[in-house]
Point group: C2
Chain length 536, copies 2
């Protein structure tokens, strides 16, 4: 036992110097001083969340954020500050909204217009009907019953019994469990299902319209009076015919119970929402700290600047945007001249399908061919992206030496996901070492999804996402009406921005670029005898 331990220690000592050649710890110390003691990350986050507020892609507030973030990058001395556009769709924003129960007794309800639904053009009032409709085959049941009604399409449930603490930090044991290799799978039906859901939303709107319904109402998926209001009909020509609101669970359920005992309550909806079609392109914001050697490529950090609109887009993802910006400010302020260029990106359209980072991948890294399933031909790129073959790398594919993403709220960094790439594990361990006393220690092998590094990994580019303490992100803040600045944690964000800055400098100055994942050449293994979990 002892001998084995000794050997392991010797092995660690033997490899550490080799890996450590490119890490200059005096730079780390300067980065920590600037990032912790002289941080501006909370000023940046406060401006994004409080002053600008929620930043729906292509909304006027997002345009303000696009201009303000470019101005800050420029003010901090970054170079090549610019925006890169891609086709998106309509701008949409809420001027004011109100949903009231008028009978049997007056109550102001908590509700939000669903994103990209049309205005009511003044208050409209009508009796509600609870008509749970989850699929096309439900239409027949309600045909002829919806005329003149506000149609409540969600099946109401009852109050939740939350048995876990809403605010959490990872324990060592939980972090240990993340260090599990996950075999890649590819479910060819996933894109089909996504397509079906979008298609169903359009069919439902058309059905309700044809039946003479006056508006649609859904139930918020969290209770406790939180609303979120996500919607996906942002394309030009995709706008629904009917106004639609998402009603807080408590208010929705009360309406549903009253409707069941009858007479159905009358509800008044006033959605003063506006479309802005002045520019249907969305924009990623790009800024750089130029490297000293133009031949060795670049490293990159990113986070999405866009948000939903129920709160202020503070944790999702004002926090990540502010930390990416802060990393830029820290490095610029220290005067460190990296060998590789360090590029910073603030993505648009993340909430609608990682569209900004996808556009970056398509423009700079690689294209993918036509969907292998002919049904998916003509779909938006992000639907079934991983089912398009072949992958054709662009000339700049190899230049991206590393990408680091932040999009898990304001929790401090506890480590990083290695994306099933064992070759990066010892390198990341070394880069994290100075931050162990700040709580960041774990390099875990597994992949993580759901945000802007995904499409980079999907074309064999080294994209990574940090592990962050969960805090109350999933339990109550994510997309909700309390995604506000007061739920951000300053100590955590200072730590995370500092670690990001340090990783970027290490990656930019490393002798060799990070070991890359293999370029996918065909779909991951799918066995021909396996059934998939169709939801219809």
């Amino acid at each position: 036992m002892r001998r084995v331990l000794l050997l392991a220690t010797c092995a660690a000592l033997a490899t550490a110097p080799a890996l450590g050649q490119s890490v200059d710890r005096t730079q780390t110390t300067r980065i920590i001083d600037e990032g912790i003691a002289h941080s501006e990350v909370m000023l940046t986050a406060e401006h994004l969340a409080d002053v600008i507020g929620p930043r729906m892609t292509n909304s006027p507030a997002m345009r303000t954020a696009e201009a303000w973030t470019q101005a800050k990058f420029t003010e901090w001395g970054l170079k090549n500050v610019h925006k890169e556009g891609f086709d998106f769709g309509r701008g949409w924003y809420i001027v004011a909204s109100s949903v009231k129960m008028l009978t049997p007794r007056p109550i102001q309800l908590t509700a939000i217009p669903i994103a990209w639904t049309p205005a009511t053009n003044g208050p409209i009032s009508a009796p509600v009907i609870v008509a749970p409709i989850a699929r096309v085959r439900d239409f027949d049941k309600w045909r002829g019953k919806l005329s003149g009604k506000i149609v409540m399409v969600t099946l109401p449930n009852t109050g939740s019994e939350p048995g876990e603490a809403p605010f959490q930090r990872y324990t060592g044991e939980e972090l240990g469990k993340l260090d599990q290799y996950q075999q890649p799978t590819y479910n060819p039906e996933a894109a089909d299902r996504r397509l079906k859901r979008l298609d169903f939303a359009k069919k439902l709107d058309a059905f309700l319209k044809s039946e003479g319904a006056v508006a649609m109402a859904t139930m918020a998926y969290r209770d406790g009076k939180l609303v979120s209001g996500e919607g996906y009909t942002f394309g030009v020509g995709d706008t629904p015919a009917l106004p639609a609101v998402q009603i807080a669970a408590e208010d929705y359920r009360r309406l549903a119970r009253l409707a069941k005992i009858g007479p159905a309550p009358t509800v008044e909806i006033n959605s003063d929402v506006r479309f802005d079609d002045s520019d249907t392109r969305a924009y990623n914001i790009i800024a750089e700290i130029p490297g000293t050697d133009p031949k060795v490529g670049y490293v990159m950090a990113g986070g999405h600047l866009d948000s939903w609109v129920a709160g202020d887009g503070a944790a999702d993802n004002g926090a990540g945007s502010a930390m990416v910006m802060e990393a830029a400010r820290i490095i610029a302020k220290t005067g460190i001249r990296p060998k590789r260029t360090i590029r910073f990106a603030l993505w648009a359209g993340e909430e609608q399908g990682l569209l900004g980072s996808l556009s970056y991948v398509e423009s700079h890294l690689a294209t993918r061919g036509n969907p292998s399933d002919p049904k998916q031909t003509g779909l938006a790129l992000y639907m079934g992206w991983s089912n398009r073959w072949p992958i054709t790398p662009k000339p700049g594919w190899g230049d991206l030496a590393a990408y680091f993403n932040l999009d898990n709220g304001s929790g401090k960094v506890r480590g990083i996901y290695a994306e099933n790439n064992p070759a990066v594990v010892p390198i990341f361990r070394e880069w994290l070492a100075p931050f162990g006393p700040m709580g960041a220690k774990d390099v875990v092998i597994r992949t993580t999804g759901g945000t802007d590094h995904v499409f980079m990994q999907a074309v064999g580019a080294p994209g990574f996402q940090f592990i962050q303490d969960p805090l109350d992100y999933d339990s109550r803040v994510h997309h909700s009406s309390i995604d506000t600045f007061d739920h951000l944690k300053g100590n955590d964000m200072r730590q995370a921005a500092t670690i990001l800055a340090s990783f970027l400098v290490n990656a930019a100055n490393a002798e060799k670029a990070l070991p890359r994942p293999p370029l996918p050449t065909k779909p991951a293994v799918t066995e021909p005898f396996a059934y998939s979990d169709e939801d219809e």
Copy 2:
């Protein structure tokens, strides 16, 4: 060891039959069948919470509830159904309300008019000022700065980090910890502090008015967009000069941050609230199942029917009211004829100081003299009630053989507090025995406070409150905007109503009335060398 155990077992066997003489388990079985299998408790609760809605004392909805509950008691065959009035104050209710931030960007805020504050008479808008004022000595700091402002008087904090599950049931260990004798204490300054708080509220209103402020805003004490809106200026002549709203924590904090970086946000308040002075008396609702022996007194169950207005008064205390009513229905339906009369009370004015049950005590049980502290002379009865001497029992004092209260939300009964009275412990243990398999097992010695049995105990009458599972009552439902029917638990309420019915029948049919606590004759021990925790 073994011998001791054996003796203890023999002792238990020896006492059980003696105690059990008056318990007819065939009645228990019938009560369980009616209370569980044929329950109507959720129908009653749903009508109170959804159809009638929140029931502020003396509001029109409370008047509706007073009439409806009497009608239900009558429909179920109860006798002597009537109301008993007491002087209270003004009726007050919200027709509609709205609070918006107009600048720097428009947002609908989550807020509620503070109870018994005046209307704005249409929308008023003004810049906010954050002026934390917690005591009279803070006035000087803000003099001359508040004219034309909406004054935010709460010092803003930051987002909470809730580290416990919001929804809880008692573990056996937790119940065990409740079984601790607590020495009674009497803090003569408590009434002073209460008086000072009320006095301060009036002085603050007068100060803000004299400074030319246009409205007052406070911050909700829970975060997560929950509001409650409690206020205590219900007396005729006590109405504040300024409209006042309680703003959700997230919205209040955002306003405060924006005000700090400036310019101060402009806020619009529209409080369409109304007073109803048509009857300044409040009413307890009383109903009875007459006993067969008029000479042996009566037993009683109660819960308060009044509520706050942010939610629907479902858990606090539609649940307790519905369970008390259901116990009446169960007993009436079984046709059990109790020896003692069983009286049911639905109290008013509980939320303003246990006023309904206090009025009952004063009318039926005992009066207390003048405050021992001359500063408290002339105060409302409920302030410093326990500092009034002597206690003078009324002729009916001895007739009340037992009182059981329900006011801890919709959680199932886990046991009962014995109120420091060891003599009732074995009796309650026996009465609970059939309900052990339903989770109700613990008779704990300690007292509990905060609701309508307190003033009965304070005059030596045997008033008790059940132990109920906490659920999410304290964490998010109590007084809040999600105190709605969907957060009630039907299985729990059926169990609790059934146990209450069984306790009432057992108490009504017991050979002897429950052992009474001693009649207090002077204040509980206070040592002359002890300091008290003055808050000024």
